[in-house]
């Protein structure tokens, strides 16, 4: 009964991963399909000497760090608010968790429309309220584009942290809090001394899984800016996809993919050794 899952995974995940590593050292483009050969490290050289490569790396770091930090902060806050039962909690948490089910790409498109500099609704409202004289080019200005995609991504990712933190919070026995009440602990002390230590393993594993996931999440950016303007919102994943769609250089894109996998491995090892393990659960 295990044969189906492992043949599917073997054919459609494992084999392609290995093939991706091989393609990275070849010259597979749309134009060379019949003349594929090994070209050594050329693809990697081309990527690393790309003038924008350092900026793309930096964007990736900013994208992950800022998104995860605020998603954790706001997700945890939300979970704390939703922990105790109140009237309409089910409906409320249902609404709060909704972004999770929505397509990141469609949400990105929707926001690019709302934020449009000429006829976007947000500029329209700001102008009607006389906050601004003329439309702000949120997404076509490199200075504001990254901030805009980050805000949307943070909003989009809060539910996942909230769901995880909420589940962890609900596993804390009430008796612990009752004992703290008897000892006269105030709300802050309870948060720092009981709640956070209890859910620490969940936070550690969720931050790891989410940072990997966010690095590999080009959907929102692709819907909003496709990595532009002037690569100001380009991260490694959008960079790779743009190489596939616009340069049709599949081997160069594979080389980016190999770099992504290596970076993820290094990151995971470093993270786990610094956070002293922490049970890995999803």
């Amino acid at each position: 009964m295990l044969v189906p899952v492992f043949s599917v995974v073997g054919f459609l995940s494992l084999y392609p991963t290995i093939k991706g590593f091989i393609l990275a050292f070849q010259n597979y483009t749309v134009f060379t399909i019949n003349r594929i050969r090994f070209i050594g490290w050329d693809n990697f050289e081309e990527i690393i000497t790309d003038m924008d490569f350092l900026m793309i790396l930096w964007n990736t770091v900013v994208w992950i760090a800022v998104s995860v930090f605020f998603q954790l902060l706001l997700g945890l806050g939300l979970a704390l608010l939703l922990r105790k039962p109140f009237k309409g909690r089910g409906l409320y948490s249902g609404l709060v968790f909704y972004p999770w089910a929505l397509s990141g790409f469609a949400i990105g498109l929707l926001w690019s429309w709302l934020l449009n500099g000429q006829f976007g609704i947000i500029n329209d409202v700001l102008m009607k309220l006389n906050f601004i004289e003329e439309g702000i080019q949120f997404l076509s200005n490199p200075d504001t584009a990254m901030l805009s995609v980050l805000i949307v991504n943070i909003w989009y990712g809060i539910p996942f942290f909230a769901i995880m933190c909420l589940a962890a919070l609900q596993s804390i026995p009430d008796s612990v809090y009752e004992a703290a009440d008897i000892d006269g602990a105030n709300g802050w002390a309870k948060l720092v001394k009981i709640t956070l230590p209890y859910i620490r393993p969940t936070i550690i594993s969720t931050v790891l899984v989410r940072s990997i996931w966010i690095m590999n999440f080009p959907d929102v950016i692709y819907g909003m800016t496709r990595g532009g303007p002037a690569k100001s919102t380009e991260i490694l994943s959008t960079y790779m996809i743009n190489i596939v769609y616009y340069e049709n250089d599949y081997s160069k894109a594979s080389a980016v993919g190999v770099l992504v996998i290596l970076l993820l491995l290094v990151y995971t090892i470093l993270y786990l050794s610094f956070s002293k393990g922490g049970e890995v659960e999803i």
């Binding site: 295990l2 189906p4 995880m164």
Partner: protein, 249 residues
Amino acid sequence: MDLHHVHQTARRGVHLSHQILAFKVSFESYRYLFEFADFGKYFLNSLFVSISASFVSTIIALFSGYVLARMHFRGKTFLVIFLFFVQMIPAYLLMIPQYSMFSSFDLINRLTGIILVYIGLGAAFSTIMARGFFVRIPVSLEESALMDGCTRLKALFKVTLPLMLPGVAAIFSFSFVQNWNEIFTAALFLNSDSKMTVPVALYSFISKAGIQWNVLAAGIVVSLIPTIFVFAFAQKYIVAGLTKGSVKE
């Protein structure tokens, strides 16, 4: 009431009618979407692809999840960890090698091809989720059925599977949402007009010169409806599957 006031009121009236008119125009873009942009076709493609792939990966996951939860054998932990790592590999990293593999089988630009890709993307995580649900169903229930003379298979179908229904709902809906929303592999694989899924169609709207924002916005709204429904129906199962489904024993 002096003339000035009358004039103003009249203007307001005109303004109001403009707004009402604008509202009508927005329905117009839905009509355009389905009549001229053939969005109904893409919607059906998406439904077909997402449902088929989710169905198959749920079945696969039920078998393997059951084995990984109930049987004891050497290397089991390794297999579970292996699946855990596999499900972390994102779609866009696999799409090029898959593209090169699938072109040799003539599966590019076919819905079958993209269904296969989605089964591959979903199988590992669905299995992890299924295993989590099976682990939480007490073995003792099955054992007592076995003692009463049930065969193992009968015990599975009569006792465990009915208790597994929330798990099935969670696995299927989770995978449906993932499949419905996937864009990058679909955009690479499905390049003919009649084969596009909804996200690919939205993408083609923006890549064409001169975006019609009203039509695009209507398309986005329509594209969000199915997952909103699925989530409304399966939210509590999905949340249970995400949080408890994969916790270690």
